[in-house]
């Protein structure tokens, strides 16, 4: 669950940053490079969600769902960059 939400966050932030230049500029100025910003924020999100998980120890991990999320987000990002380049 934690990794899946982190991957969704990375995907959403990537698409938002491409479509909304002020977000990309914010990442650039705050972290010196937008990609560093995404890396750092992904780690922060993963860390925070992992810490929160301590309060919900009975929640079982869903690795099948994680697989689907990872593949789906990978396909979505590829489609997005393809669309952005050609259209």
């Amino acid at each position: 669950m934690v990794a899946a939400l982190t991957i969704i966050f990375i995907t959403a932030l990537t698409i938002i940053a491409e479509l909304h230049p002020p977000t990309k500029d914010w990442l650039q100025t705050t972290f010196t490079h937008h990609w560093i910003g995404k890396s750092v924020l992904a780690l922060v999100v993963f860390g925070l969600l992992s810490a929160m998980r301590y309060f919900f120890p009975n929640v079982k991990p869903h690795f099948g769902w994680l697989s689907g999320v990872a593949l789906g987000c990978a396909v979505a990002l590829f489609g997005f960059f393809l669309y952005e380049y050609y259209f």
């Binding site: 991957i7 995404k38 992904a42 593949l71 952005e84």
Partner: protein, 145 residues
């Protein structure tokens, strides 16, 4: 490109490839009727640690050199899509991999394979994505040439 950056790039590629190989071993081992616990543990740890190394080395190279020196060359050439689609995809999909590998290692560390079927899927997809990232790296290098 300085000697340091050349070495960094080589180390980045090595880390990535070793991680991809380890990810494949984890997937194949989980497919066995009797997975070997130590083998799973060491290879899942290797996957996670080497991809962390690839993240740091590749990230440094990307931020310090690729953006200023390589990206303009690709975008000015006939393979501009190699950066705009392939590099962009690679640099963001790569961010998934250390988290996927970490989660796998954490679960395999417990020694219990109660959710083995879904772990097979997870390890397989992790390996598949890492193959894609590796292929993207090869393509980008070709586009620069």
């Amino acid at each position: 490109m300085t000697t340091f950056l050349t070495i960094l790039l080589v180390v980045h590629v090595l880390f990535g490839v070793i991680g991809t190989m380890s990810a494949y071993v984890v997937w194949r081992e989980l497919l066995r009727s009797q997975p070997r616990q130590r083998w799973l543990l060491w290879n899942s740890l290797s996957t996670w640690v080497t991809w962390l190394g690839a993240w740091l080395t590749g990230g440094y190279y990307y931020v310090v050199y690729y953006g200023e020196q390589v990206k303009p060359v690709i975008k000015a050439g006939e393979y501009a899509w190699a950066h705009s689609v392939v590099t962009e995809w690679k640099e963001h999909i790569f961010l998934f991999l250390p988290f996927l590998a970490f989660v796998l290692w954490l679960e395999l560390r417990s020694g219990q394979l109660a959710r083995r079927q879904s772990l097979v899927w997870l390890s397989g997809i992790t390996w598949f994505l890492s193959l894609g990232v590796t292929a993207a790296g090869v393509l980008i290098s070709g586009a620069v040439q």
